[in-house]
């Protein structure tokens, strides 16, 4: 177990370095001069040349690409993510401010996803091929296939405008406060529902798998109540593989935040990245993609380790 964990941790390191390299070169080989974004569009002539040269020098953009790469790595090693082209603020500070916002939204939506996904998945499997099962699976596919921004606007119209029970959009502090929580409900639902669909389908098939296993049959034949069989024996084992896709679900939530945070004016890293993409703010895109990817790698690492820990059947070499 310990050596397996060590190996997984060590393997994550080259992955992270690879991610850094990939993002850096992809963005720096992209067409379109980022310096344009830092200038008023009407600025031209000799003043423009001068300003462009100064900005290039200031951001080290006048150096050869490889030198820029090495500089970037050495700054990263000092946890310096650079400064935004557009606002000239420290990206590390910007991210530190936004990560908790996205994390709160992510956790809440993950809670939504797990409650609905696992709940409906189990019910669906137990009542296999009943109308309930069909309706649930239809709903799950619906959740997966509707564009999340449409769903977001619909929730906003229903709860925010027509019924006026929840604030339509915005951020009002951490979700530990009542107003903060109320503001987080609609975006979390939007984000959570898509993930719930996928989770429900996965839980259902995992549960069906387990229900045909010998030990479940044994438990049944011992005359245990069906509910006991399902909760004590089947569910526990069925959920083990479900844990493995938690990491992937977290990824879906992270990348889904790009759209949801824009729709709901939520100041998280998804919104930060969209602004970065729209304004070609390379350091911002670079840093955000990096942070998201690294946290995803770490989340997967943790789920793998948890999986190995809770499922004793698994032996790795």
């Amino acid at each position: 177990m310990r050596s397996y964990a060590l190996k997984r941790v060590l393997l994550a390191i080259p992955t992270i370095i690879g991610v850094i390299t990939l993002v850096f070169f992809a963005l720096h080989l992209a067409p379109g001069d980022p310096v344009n974004m830092m200038l008023p569009p009407d600025l031209d002539g000799p003043v423009r040349e001068e300003v462009v040269a100064r900005i290039r020098a200031q951001y080290g953009l006048d150096q050869p690409l490889l030198v820029q790469y090495v500089n970037y790595l050495s700054r990263l090693a000092r946890l310096d993510l650079g400064r935004s082209f557009r606002t000239n603020t420290s990206i590390a500070d910007d991210l530190a401010r936004r990560i908790p916002n996205t994390l709160q939204l992510g956790l809440l939506s993950l809670a939504v996803a797990i409650t609905l996904g696992v709940g409906f998945g189990v019910v669906s499997a137990v009542r296999r091929d009943t109308p309930l099962d069909n309706a649930t699976m239809f709903g799950a596919l619906f959740g997966v296939s509707i564009p999340s921004f449409w769903f977001g606007f619909m929730l906003m119209l229903l709860f925010g405008l027509w019924w006026r029970v929840l604030p339509p959009s915005g951020f009002a502090g951490p979700i530990t406060s009542w107003t903060g929580f109320r503001h987080a409900i609609l975006p979390a639902l939007t984000l959570g529902l898509a993930a719930a669909g996928a989770l429900a389908r996965f839980t259902r098939s995992s549960m069906l798998d387990v229900l045909t296993q010998d030990y479940v049959r044994t438990a049944r034949s011992k005359g245990l109540a069906e509910r006991v069989v399902i909760v004590r024996h089947a569910l526990k084992n069925a959920l083990i593989p479900v844990v493995t896709i938690m990491g992937i679900q977290l990824g879906a939530v992270l990348s889904g935040s790009v759209i949801t945070e824009t729709v709901f004016a939520w100041p998280g890293i998804g919104r930060y990245m969209v602004t970065g993409i729209n304004t070609r703010d390379f350091p911002v895109i670079q840093a955000t993609v990096l942070v998201v990817a690294v946290s995803f790698v770490l989340a997967n690492l943790v789920t793998d380790l948890v999986y190995a820990f809770i499922d004793p059947r698994i032996r790795y070499d």
Partner: protein
């Protein structure tokens, strides 16, 4: 998805049974019908209505559905039904080409890395790890934001995005098959490597590939819609469902039909593909063969 345990080159004889089982599945049948309908709509788009997909009529904008325009008109007075039909061409094409691109590249890489092993396998696995480190559609967003928006760039992005998943899937299947007797036998009989890879390894890991390919057509269509929202999808005035849905959000209040019809098309297509994919999975599952 590693239930690729069934051995032996028995694909042909299984084929008939799969088809029978597929057709017995009601969901799959409905799905197939809808997909046929969509494909027909795409093929016959020009015959379906008297309108051109780009023809504007600014005096007749945002009309609700009526006798002349069954699905109403959009923000430029174009006929929505015509655009949905032509959009089927673009959207299905994006879905098919994107996922097929991922399939071809991914399967090739996966086969080679699983079969050859060694440093090549190591290298590929590392690269796949790196690409899988981008959660969800992030990698696709990154690629399109680098290449710039547009239909072909979108397809390239989808291909790159899907490649690692295909590759990992095939590699796992190949690893489980590599040491099987019939593969060993073929190799000891002096069959060339490409033959072993194609005939024995690939043919026997087809079922998860087919299932995954089917589902990734749906995913590709959805990703294209999501990128449309960020302004990174198919560019106007090309009719594409995702782009139509994302433009329609500006008219959500005064013309809700604008989002309804392309949205419904996406939903029905994705749903149908999923039904077919699920049925395929069941039909191809060796454990249910008995």
């Amino acid at each position: 998805m590693t239930e690729t345990g069934f051995a032996g080159p028995t694909i042909i004889s299984v084929g008939g049974r799969i088809r029978r089982r597929l057709l017995r599945n009601r969901g799959a049948l409905v799905g197939l019908c809808f997909l046929t309908l969509m494909v027909l709509m795409a093929l016959l788009a020009s015959q379906l209505t008297p309108y051109e997909p780009q023809a504007q009529n600014l005096l007749n904008r945002l009309e609700p559905p009526c006798a002349e325009h069954w699905m109403g008109t959009d923000e430029l007075g174009r006929d929505v039904l015509t655009r949905v039909a032509y959009g089927a061409r673009v959207s299905l094409l994006i879905g098919l080409l994107g996922s097929t691109g991922g399939l071809l590249v991914g399967v090739t890489i996966g086969l080679l890395s699983g079969y050859l092993g060694g440093w090549f396998d190591n290298l590929v696995s590392r690269i796949v790890d790196i690409m899988m480190a981008f959660p969800g559609v992030l990698l696709a967003i990154l690629i399109v934001s680098v290449l710039g928006p547009g239909t072909s760039n979108l397809i390239v992005a989808l291909t790159i995005w899907l490649t690692p998943a295909f590759s990992r899937l095939v590699r796992a299947a190949v690893l489980s098959l590599r040491e099987k007797e019939f593969v060993e036998a073929a190799r000891s009989l002096g069959a060339p490597a490409w033959r072993v890879m194609l005939k024995h390894l690939l043919m026997n890991s087809l079922s998860p590939i087919i299932v995954f390919q089917t589902l990734s057509v749906a995913t590709s269509i959805l990703v294209a819609a999501g990128l449309g929202f960020l302004g990174l999808g198919v560019q106007p005035p090309t009719p594409e469902w995702g782009a139509m849905v994302s433009t329609a959000r500006h008219y959500l209040r005064e013309a809700p039909h604008l989002i309804l019809f392309p949205g419904l098309s996406i939903f029905v297509t994705v749903l149908s593909i999923n039904f077919v994919g699920d049925a395929l999975r069941d039909a191809l599952d060796p454990r249910l063969h008995t």
